[in-house]
Amino acid sequence: MDLVSDVLLVVGAAWFLLAGLGVARLGDTLARVHAATKATTLGMALVVLGAALEAPGPDAVKLLLAIALVALTNPLGGHLLGRAVEENPGTAEVRIDVRATLDEPSPPADDAEPPPH
């Protein structure tokens, strides 16, 4: 049981790292949504399952409940975000540069009304 739990923890953490690499390195917003949603769900399920094997009864049930909740809601959230991007194609191109916003007033957007003279 100890060995199974250890293997599950490390494999799950490796899936988390894979998800992190995908989020950081993929070149397109929808691709990043895809990487973040699926790989983190599997990694979370493996890590928490490994912990549930070690935990005593009631705590194991709580951890399994957390697996069920994330497995149900995380793909749904990714789908909602993906649909929102798909229906509003401009969203993925909106660039928010935090440092520029802090340092200086941001330039007016293309579709903004010209300031009154």
Partner: protein
């Protein structure tokens, strides 16, 4: 083994944090923060194994719910705003 698990989780969290700071669009930030919350659930579970005591299991359940509510609200916001 626990050390390797935590190193991998930390590296994953750092990569997600990089994307959350870098952006560039709101969707990228939301997805990165969502990933951070799921990594936090995994870290809570790994911490339970390290301590031999799953006292933060309730927090893992709450994080699972909050992550979904946050993502859903932002998706709703994007759809209503119309891009």
């Amino acid at each position: 083994m626990m050390t390797l698990t935590f190193v991998l989780l930390t590296a994953a969290a750092a990569l997600c944090g990089y994307r959350a700071v870098r952006g560039p669009s709101i969707v990228d930030r939301v997805v990165a923060v969502d990933g951070l919350v799921i990594i936090a659930i995994g870290a809570i579970a790994a911490d339970a194994v390290r301590r031999g005591d799953a006292r933060f299991a309730d927090a893992a359940i709450l994080l699972a719910i909050i992550a979904f509510v946050g993502t859903g609200i932002v998706a709703r916001f994007i759809e209503r705003r119309g891009g």
